[in-house]
Subunit: 361 residues, 5 copies
């Protein structure tokens, strides 16, 4: 998954400037993704049996089993424009949307074109130590008897789902590819909660350190976290509209799973709610930190002022009797020294009483 | 009720990752709730008479009395997935919603499915000392001749309502289960005012301490209160939409109580208004505190500056006559010492006049 | 009118917890109101003549003169649940709304039920010295041939209206009770301008003191004013919707006065606009005050720094020649003392030039 | 034009309290306006010829030339209630709107009543030195063959329009009174750009002074400008809705000029956009100023700290050898004095190196 | 492109005050543009062949080839009112919109009038060093068989598009002028990403410098960047509505390219999203900077306080034994001097321990 600070907030479209619309170029910053080997795995559900295989080329995929059977084709590390062009031809994908699949800095969106439903969204991971969110694009194409899923990197995000489907594909048989699409979306949105959990822990950690005696300098951390929350919000916000759109799509594949989609929709709302709360909490933590700074500054200044105010008059007094005038009667007196001490002690006590009265000490 | 600082802002869904939809698992953080013993109480209203009993299993509940009679089944400490599954079977509850009842970190919501109306919301309690909001989930299922209420903990929230119903169940007979549902919602929303009252008192306390001479360090308190208000807002906001939805639901059980629901709706608006006011007041208190800090810093600095500015010149003068030069005519003079004092006193008075003019003292 | 700081932001519903809906209990905090004697005054308009009388009980009121005549019944200091119950019976008032009349912490609202129109809103007064808003609830019930107005306290708010009606009740005869209702609303909304005027003067006063040489500590004032503005906004905002609703109500009593209601509506918009401006102005004043604090702190620090920076090096020099080393050639020199002075004066001038260059002095 | 600081944010309705609706009283604060002499000028467009004259009374106006001819009657310094009443009678103006024309603290609004279209809005002027916005109310009444314009003061705002119409009244003949109304509105909205230009220059000036070496105290200026922007926004915002309403009014006089009104509408949008930008810029300037203050405070403190930290240890050292103990071996040593100097110089250099390392100097 | 700080936020309409609507005057501030020579280039697409030529006058343009052929006329440095008037006549352009083309401070807008579609928007460039956005207006007129594009300056913005069209004009033949219009819009919106990329790099640079040890004074930079973002937002926001309007325009030229326009629309959303993120990031950077200032101030104050608090008591002690009293027993003692040193060292260590305990050092 890519890691790039502020840069990730910017769609890297400059690379495509001057190309005609529909050009297939991989626009992603993930070096790891670009160098990983593309892997195509196939999972077929037919009459309650599940078969899995790994294929090398698109040619090995077609023809797919006809409609009662369901085929799920997952492509990891999708950065090979040529391969994608073959997919486009084999499955009659729209060129503009093929382009969006390769451009992994796409805003989440879904479209329904020529009988196929396209869904593009993001997976996230949060590195607590660097306070950095990594992201990876997932594109899903939903056909009558197949589902294509394109992952930007080699990912095991869908492994739990696969395990479940191997042992229990009953509901899938009943509800068709729509249910599989729902399952993919559901596991993606569910993964957002994991990311939120990690961010929540980090927020809690920051909050706890602030509550302690010696709050460390957490400015950079707060700033980084806020930056990442902005990034997350920007990328999750459209998912809500997207799933809402799927929910109301008049597609015969999706109508049977509408109650399920509604559940996913509720989850995205919950994710958004939590993100908003986090933003509020984060700005609360920042305010708290700034007031802690102010409070401690007050503290430091009080120490300085108390020390100075007590000793400066005393230093003046001892300075006076350090003068070398020939005629200073006090210096000759036997009681001069002890009286001076007495006077100085009284002065110091007076200042202490004053500061105690002001509650500075 | 659960108490967990920032963690409560996060739905704890990680526990369910990988489970198929509709799995019944208790997802709550309340240890107290998880260990408490489930209690099922039954209250039957028939022909103006009220009968109450406590049962051990779901089997003891069915068959319920038919429609003119109304049965209210309350389940305290609902964390037993098996028991809930039995309820699901006996009352034909929807599996997805059964799951929501067990997942006590649900966002408030209501659904109308297969003739049953489901309402899920929260009860709150505010611990003024820790400035912490405790929450507990309440789920209500409304059928033709029965109402199910599932509480996350053992709770006496509905006790006043029970007392009222024992003596006066007339309106209940006329208006049916809808009136009972309204009564439950009404006592829940009314309890929100109690929580608001407690928070208001805490706000008032903070405001008062700030008005005093020596404002204490209330940063943590303000931060905690704000965190709790965010939590409350997030959990009460959907209640408004929920009750609005119930109000416009075309359900024959709810239509007779629509004016009552409108009353509850007005109350939730009032709760939201008050919450918004509290947020504003809290940020006002924070601003006030920060300006108090600034103001006091100014004060401290003035004392330091006045003390230093008066004594530093004097110390310089006495330093001059503490020098050991052989030829310093002033030292020999008889008037040197008294003249020096005079000069120093005039200097000090001049500085005092200057600071008085600047209104620093 | 009641005065209670932050407490007024909170609906005092705790008193009613456990009571069935429709219970008549006075929920107000105004002690003055609770102890004042209820006063019922009657004003009848018939064939262009106006008759006024004060009655002791509801029984003296009925039967009212029939429809072409208009009767305005005003009840001051309404806190007697029994009396209100009698009113309810005599005029067929809805029990839920009777309850709202007694609960003087109601959110402004209007309802049209069973041929009667209910309007509940607030009167305000601003105590400039305490920066406190006092409020009083007014409830108006509009029937075919009568208007009931219930005031929380003994009030002369409607006296100017009465004077006007005594001499000129022509339009009232033409337009019916709707015009009387409009007149009451109009004089209430007009009174808001008086409150705004007072608050505006207070804002102006605060702004002026800040512009002076020695801005006083106005933190508490700003905080209190903001609290009161929040309170006002919360209570006036719903009035807008309320009057809008009356304007579009399909009631034969109100249709003839719709242009008048539109005028009142424009006034409430103007009130809201002004309130928003005040909020902005107030936060502007707060920002200004905080920057004044910062600016003055800078000033204080500059004096300290300039004083210290000039005298500290000088004190070091005189300290050097105050040392008691046996072999210090300078001390023996005849020119040592005057040269030291020269050097010190040059040093001081250098520092002064430096600070002048930095524009600190 | 009136000038009154915060007071202008407040509608001065207190003067009208107790008067029946429709009472004609001049409610304006402009003394200049109240004392100026009312002037009525007449401009008649007929068959391509333009005639102008000044009249003394309303009686001299009527009867107007019939419909193909267009008469524009402009009234400067409208504060005479009697005169306005005569206008009301002669042109059948609505009493409520006549009242609004005299109440020069009206919110901008437009109404279409009994075949006449009323438009009330404001002219502004910005006094850059005092950072004060002056305002003047303009009321326009649009009839079939006439336009009335009432100005609060004696104004030459429409002079350029008059000059244009004298030489070129062709389009006016084609498009009728609607075009004249549009021309008036257009020249008013255009004048807003002039005000914005002046405010923009003031903002630029403030920004520039902040960029300099010694930013002056611009707090008051920023505060005043913000106050005036709030005032402007409050008075221009409704103009947008007003013109939008005129645009969609089904009036046969206005339909032919709809594309022109759309142009004016675009301009008001642009004015609002610019006002919003100004608000953002102003708060940016305030933030900048506050950070400049912080930055300079840092600077001042660094000088103080560096001076103190270097000289305080040195003063301690010279203090030590200023002690009068009998047995201090160093004092007797021949090398004591030069070694002390060496040590002090090294200490000072060490401190300097430390602060240089910290980049404080 | 023009560069003018705050001034660019202001539409320079003052120049036009008093002119009748539809007057052709160049209202732009770009001196460069005003002095550049106007250049008219022609690109004709017919039967798959592309021909290009540069013409001197409008007369050389007409008659255009009829509808199956497509002519793209591009005018650079459009500031010559006479030339534009000729264009207006030759292509039947609406005078109000011609005026908008010359007024290069137009808000982005699109209109469909008399069979022609007008689109006016802006090109931007970001000068990273001065943190300044330069802008240039582009106006596009879409007819049946021609497209006019008017650039404020001599620009090579469309060069890549031209190159593409020379080699591949197939889709253009199929989809007609609508596709050419889309291509122009697409390359303009795409250029926004380049500007965003540059701003993003600048933000990143600011963020990085703040993360370093010695954050420089970046106040001015942050302020300037914010000002430019406000400017950008104000000018890009309407583009979204504009393209949305084009998308839903019932124009036979645009209907075939609706999916393409939708793509452009998505891009403008992405641009707006990114702009919003930038605003948030920028205010995050400002907050960070202010807290860094506070933190460092704390640091400076601690050094001062620690130094003063350690040495001031010591200086008092040495002052005491610098007094010249005749009878000071300590001075006579042999152990006086070493004991004093011991005491002073212990005092200093005590203070150090105290500050270490407070974590100030």
């Amino acid at each position: 998954m890519m890691r790039q600070g502020i840069r990730k907030h910017l769609p890297n479209r400059a690379l495509k400037a001057g190309l005609p619309p529909g050009s297939l170029v991989y626009i992603g910053r993930s070096k790891k993704a670009a160098s990983a080997e593309t892997r195509i795995t196939l999972m077929t559900f037919e009459n309650g049996t599940v078969s899995e295989q790994e294929v090398q080329s698109v040619a090995d995929l077609v023809p797919l089993k006809p409609a009662p059977a369901i085929t799920w084709i997952n492509v990891d590390a999708v950065h090979d424009a040529k391969l994608l062009a073959e997919f486009g031809e084999a499955f009659h994908l729209n060129p503009l949307l093929l382009e969006d699949i390769l451009n992994t800095e796409q805003r989440p969106k879904s479209e329904h074109l020529e009988g196929l439903t396209y869904v593009i969204l993001k997976l996230f991971d949060f590195q607590a130590q660097q306070e950095e969110i990594l992201s990876e694009q997932v594109s899903i194409v939903l056909g009558d008897n197949f589902i294509l899923s394109f992952m930007e990197e080699v990912s095991d995000e869908f492994e739990p789902l696969r395990i479940r489907l191997r042992t229990n594909s009953q509901r899938l048989s009943t509800l068709g590819t729509g249910y599989l699409a729902y399952s993919l979306l559901d596991s993606i949105v569910d993964s957002y909660f994991g990311v939120l959990e990690k961010i929540g822990e980090r927020l809690e950690y920051l909050e706890d350190t602030l509550g302690g005696e010696q709050p460390p300098n957490i400015l950079q951390n707060v700033h980084r976290l806020r930056r990442e929350l902005i990034f997350l919000r920007k990328n999750i916000w459209p998912v809500r509209d997207m799933i809402n759109m799927l929910q109301h799509l008049d597609s015969e594949k999706l109508i049977p799973v509408q109650p399920y989609l509604r559940d996913v929709y509720d989850h995205t709302i919950q994710v958004m709610d939590t993100l908003e709360s986090y933003r509020d909490l984060l700005s609360g933590i920042q305010d708290l930190y700034l007031s802690v700074l102010s409070y401690r500054m007050n503290d430091v200044m009080k120490v300085l002022t108390v020390m100075s105010s007590i000793f400066i008059p005393l230093m003046f007094i001892v300075g006076v009797y350090g003068m070398n005038f020939k005629y200073m009667p006090e210096l000759e007196s036997h009681w001069g020294y002890p009286l001076t001490w007495t006077f100085m002690i009284l002065t110091a006590l007076g200042m202490l009483a004053y500061f105690r009265h002001k509650r500075w000490i």
